[in-house]
């Protein structure tokens, strides 16, 4: 008797499902999925000009290099000119940060993207000159040679006259 009752209930349920499924459906839904990846680290591209070094995370670089930095970390960068040189300019993603370099150190903002640090060193005491970069000693030597040459010419002239 109980089995008959259960079967009866099952048939009723199936019939109900069938009725629901047969109802006309006029609403349709479709989905577009967008994905993205946020990196865990970024590349710091160091551009070095002149004589000096750049130290990042304990690693010292004497020429241009790419360094991997953890995302959202702030990094202290040391800028050390070689003897006879000084820091000329420091650019961070094109922005001039030279005046922000204190005691040859500068702390970057939290890394959120690949970045470029451009450091340029110049010789100390260099007088800017237009034209060629001929050195002072060489100019003196040239002047001495010219004077000697002129002296020889005058002497020869004198001898001819005699």
């Amino acid at each position: 008797m109980q089995m008959k009752y259960t079967a009866y209930k099952l048939i009723q349920f199936c019939f109900l499902i069938l009725c629901i499924l047969s109802l006309p459906i006029s609403v349709f839904a479709q989905v577009t999925t967008l994905k993205t990846n946020v990196p865990n680290s970024h590349i710091l591209h160091i551009e070095l000009k002149g004589k000096g070094t750049v130290t990042v995370d304990g690693n010292t670089y004497t020429k241009s290099a790419d360094v991997q930095i953890n995302r959202h970390s702030e990094t202290t960068i040391s800028v050390q000119p070689s003897d006879g040189y000084s820091l000329k300019t420091a650019l961070w993603n094109g922005d001039n940060i030279t005046s922000a370099v204190r005691n040859k150190k500068w702390t970057s903002p939290a890394f959120e993207q690949d970045s470029v640090l451009s450091v340029s060193f110049e010789r100390v005491g260099t007088i800017p000159m237009t034209g060629d970069g001929f050195h002072f000693l060489q100019w003196c030597l040239l002047a001495v040679c010219s004077a000697v040459g002129i002296g020889i010419c005058l002497l020869l002239r004198k001898r001819k006259a005699i």
Binding site: A29, Q30, V31, T32, K35, V38
Partner: protein, 188 residues
């Protein structure tokens, strides 16, 4: 006998009287309204490059439409939420907007120029595709009521993400879904 004959003659007289009552005639006209049908096309699944602040992701269009009429339109509702990750707790919010090139009125000086149309589409807003008397539904949604027309080839759905929101997000893989729900409705 005479009474019988008189009765029969009276009955015969009654039945011989002309009857002039006329009955009503009806004509029944029937018709069948078929269900409107269409195909909804939505932007494909795709990858958004880190740092992108604005990008076209495709378009929403209706094709293969039939059995529509003036005022019988398709409404496509868009629903979405921020990018989320299973790996980290940060979310990346974004906005969806529709864009197109519209035409401007040249007035009495000749043909008009073009103008840029941008319409914000927050979650829960809808795109309306209008039915027409020829039985079809417009392939492109109506981006701008009024105006002097739109270059439908330039209609686009776009995503915009603020750079600062990219910056706040922790490293990881994120995803989001845009749900497009369409239904036929009749303008009142």
């Amino acid at each position: 006998m005479k009474k019988v004959i008189a009765f029969v003659m009276a009955i015969a007289m009654v039945f011989s009287m002309a009857v002039t009552v006329s009955a009503e005639s009806t004509t029944t006209i029937t018709t069948f309204v078929p269900a409107a049908t269409y195909t909804l096309n939505i932007p494909a699944d795709q990858e958004i490059t880190y740092g992108t602040t604005s990008k076209s992701i495709g378009n929403v269009t209706i094709t293969d439409s039939a059995n529509f009429a003036d005022g019988k339109n398709v409404r496509v509702k868009i629903e979405y939420d921020a990018f989320k990750s299973d790996e980290v707790s940060t979310k990346i919010p974004y906005n969806i907007y529709a864009s197109a090139t519209g035409r401007t009125n040249g007035g009495s000086y000749g043909s008009g120029g073009s103008t840029s149309i941008t319409v914000n589409k927050p979650s829960g807003s809808a795109f309306i595709f209008e039915g027409s008397a020829n039985g079809t539904c417009s392939e492109f949604f109506n981006i701008e009521k009024g105006g002097y027309g739109t270059d439908t080839s330039t209609i686009s759905i776009n995503i915009s993400i603020a750079s600062s929101d990219w910056g706040k997000a922790l490293g990881g893989n994120y995803s989001t879904t845009l749900t497009f729900t369409s239904e036929i409705y009749v303008e009142e």
